[in-house]
Amino acid sequence: MSQQILVAVVVTLAATFCVWKLMPARRRLQILLALDAWSERRPGLAGWRTRWLKPRITRAGGIGCDGCDAHDPRSHRPPR
């Protein structure tokens, strides 16, 4: 039974990931911006917003679905 539950969790996560990656860029950006507006009012999530959410918002400004890595507008860590 525990194997069944583990597999169900993995498959659900994988399916969610596929939907997310293959979603049109505009829809993904809308979801990320809604998340951004929601988390803005919660100071406890400030670190998560900076580290996780903001880079994804930048990437979602790319093109098409996220299934291809050919166009990634991320800027890299700034050197000193």
């Binding site: 194997q3 498959v11 994988a14 399916a15 098409g64 679905c65 291809c68 890595d69 166009h71 050197p79």
Partner: protein, 620 residues
């Protein structure tokens, strides 16, 4: 307000003619890893990067598409002008312009610098490739140039570590904090303006003691040979031929290592995990699916080694020059060469690179045929089918498998040219826009660029295998496993699953072209990305396998159960089928309409079906 302005990063725009080294300088300034190549038209979008500075304010650096003038003729040139003028929504004009001028070809870059200076923005001139200029005897009085232009002039060697240190020092925001400029002013250049600018340029070159670069007689001889319409074409074909031979010959050993590693992992998993869904998911979903795709990493690396080396050497623009007349005869713009060449890595940057084509109909034709160029995602599919169905023997000095893959690449190019010719015949009369190309100097490929480029490709491939491909394989495993077969069922379990039922349904459509239900299933997740089909075949066949060695089974299973006609039919399908949703999404964005991606998908699927049907029938 002033304090606020001075606390934000200094915004710097890199401007210059194509192929003067802006992106190399951008990477040097920001630590970025944007693509650099020794040909014009690599950058078609603005790119942004950051650099920390001692005073904490930081730099925000914009890399702009190359342009010969601020009077744009193409979309990418218009982006450069609009960014400089602060016309793009949400971005003001830059605080400082770094005009990058190739010191070897000073006159052409300096002409643009004069034009940019007239905008009235604070400006610094970076004299790039000074090492090559010195080697080739180019004389420039830098101090005099700076005095005459009234801006700081800094020598740089963007491809060398430390080669931009003087520029970096000059760009400290504190130096520019008191520089205030009026909004940039631009007007269309008139004939009188152009004449005056040309006069100014001649005067500048004279007072700075500019002497033209020496041309090595050897380079001149090599160029004459490579640009010869007959010898040049023969050399181009030979280069491509060697490339595809190497893809199969050199990759064999490392592919075997990965294959054996996957087999060992599969055997270990089944031996050490209790029988049940977790073991099945790991061995038949993850290892047999995603692991089968990972095997093709060496071939991808070898293919890109050649492509990157050719890019960096300066050979590719010569190939563009050679093929220009031929491309014109089938109705393609001379400027279509670079986008079509980029499409051999991936159609997405290729389609974006069509922004350099000024005529809309020429651009649309190039967009429409870009997916026919064989992108690297097709390589795992070709590699699997060729290794399974074509014997690994030699015909004279040539590897037969290499010959077949050369033929498949040629089929992609040829069909693209035929579609362009068709559009020319039925698309009405149009004016041919010739290719204007500055041939870059020959150079040995830069080892750092090569390694960086290969590392980027490895990262992209591995992250796709570990990301979207792995996730799709897990979902496919679920669909191929559930629902379980009813008690007393005699056929393979997969036939009773969701995927099995879908495969049986799709087989009605694909049976006339020789595809069995396993192939029909694999084509569905393969729509997300072409190479997913390989993993999907691995998973689908592993679901009916009885042994432990699932990851190495695919090739022999295909060899044993498919006819040559079926294999060749699938190869023909993959030459044409638009099995990539990202490509269609990019076409929608670039054409701003659903009409063109729909037309593209329809005509490519129709071509794929017809080609596969004919291949299957002829070979049966």
């Amino acid at each position: 307000m002033d304090a606020l302005v001075e606390s934000r990063p200094l915004r710097i725009a890199l401007v210059g003619v194509p192929n003067c080294g802006k992106t190399a300088l951008f990477n040097r300034l920001t630590g970025g890893r944007q693509k650099v190549a020794n040909y014009p038209g690599v950058t078609v979008e603005r790119r942004e990067g950051e650099r920390a500075t001692a005073d904490g304010r930081g730099l925000r650096v914009l890399d702009l598409p190359g342009t010969y003038s601020l009077n744009p003729t193409t979309l990418d040139e218009a982006i450069t002008r609009d960014v400089l003028l602060g016309r793009l929504a949400g971005s003001a004009a830059p605080d400082l312009v770094v005009c990058v001028v190739d010191a070897v070809h000073l006159p052409i870059g300096l002409r643009l610098a004069l034009e940019v200076k007239r905008l009235g923005l604070p400006m610094v001139l970076a004299l790039n490739r000074m090492d090559v200029a010195k080697r080739r005897g180019v004389g420039i009085d830098i101090a005099r140039l700076s005095t005459e232009l009234g801006v700081a002039v800094v020598p740089t060697v963007a491809v060398r570590r430390g080669g931009a240190d003087a520029l970096i020092e000059l760009l400290e925001p504190a130096r520019w904090s008191n520089t205030r400029s009026a909004p940039p002013v631009w007007r269309q250049t008139t004939a009188e303006d152009a004449e005056q600018m040309q006069g100014d340029l001649r005067g500048l070159l004279a007072v700075t003691g500019f002497s033209a670069p020496r041309i090595s007689p050897w380079i001149a001889r090599i160029d004459a040979l490579l640009l010869n319409p007959f010898a040049g074409l023969a050399i181009l074909l030979a280069v491509l031929f060697v490339m595809f031979q190497a893809v199969f010959s050199w990759a064999a050993a490392p592919m075997d290592w990965i294959k054996n590693g996957m087999a060992a992992l599969g055997a270990y998993t089944t031996a050490h995990l209790p029988h049940g869904p977790v073991a099945s998911l790991l061995s038949e979903g993850v290892i047999a699916g995603a692991g089968t795709v990972l095997v093709f990493l060496p071939q991808i690396v070898i293919l890109f080694f050649f492509i990157l080396a050719l890019e960096d050497s300066g050979y590719l623009p010569r190939a563009a020059y050679l093929l220009d007349r031929f491309m014109g005869s089938v109705g393609l713009s001379g400027r279509a060469f670079i986008p079509l060449l980029s499409s051999h890595a991936c159609a997405i940057p290729g389609i974006m690179a069509t922004r350099t084509i000024p005529n809309w109909r020429d651009r649309l034709t190039t967009i429409m045929i870009a997916p026919l160029m064989t992108c690297s995602a097709r390589l795992p599919v070709y590699g699997l089918l060729i290794a399974a169905l074509i014997p690994a023997r030699h015909i004279g000095p040539f590897n037969l498998q290499g010959l077949v893959i050369f033929g498949l690449y040629a089929a992609g190019i040829l069909s693209g040219l035929l579609v362009a010719l068709f559009l020319k015949q039925f698309g009405g009369k149009r004016q041919y826009s010739p290719l204007m190309l500055e041939l870059p100097d020959f150079q040995w490929p830069h080892a750092g660029n090569l390694l960086l480029g290969l590392w980027e490709r490895v990262k992209i491939f591995v992250s796709r295998v570990g990301g979207i491909i792995l996730a799709l394989m897990i979902v496919l495993w679920f669909l191929s496993t559930y629902p379980m077969p009813p008690p007393g069922a005699t056929g393979p379990a997969i036939q009773y699953s969701f995927a099995g039922k879908l495969g049986a349904l799709l087989q009605h459509v694909f049976a006339p072209i020789g595809f069995n239900w396993q192939i029909s299933i694999a084509l569905v997740p393969g729509l997300a990305a072409r190479e997913v089909a390989v993993g999907a075949l691995g998973t689908v066949y592993a679901m009916s396998a009885s042994g432990n060695d699932v990851s190495t089974q695919l090739e022999p299973v295909i060899a044993g159960s498919w006819s040559l006609a079926t294999g060749c039919s699938l190869l023909a399908w993959y030459v044409f089928a638009p099995q990539c949703l990202s490509t269609l999404a990019v076409v929608k964005r670039e054409t701003n309409s659903w009409r063109y991606p729909l037309i593209m998908a329809t005509y490519l699927f129709a071509l794929a079906y017809i080609a596969a049907f004919v291949t299957f029938r002829v070979m049966s």
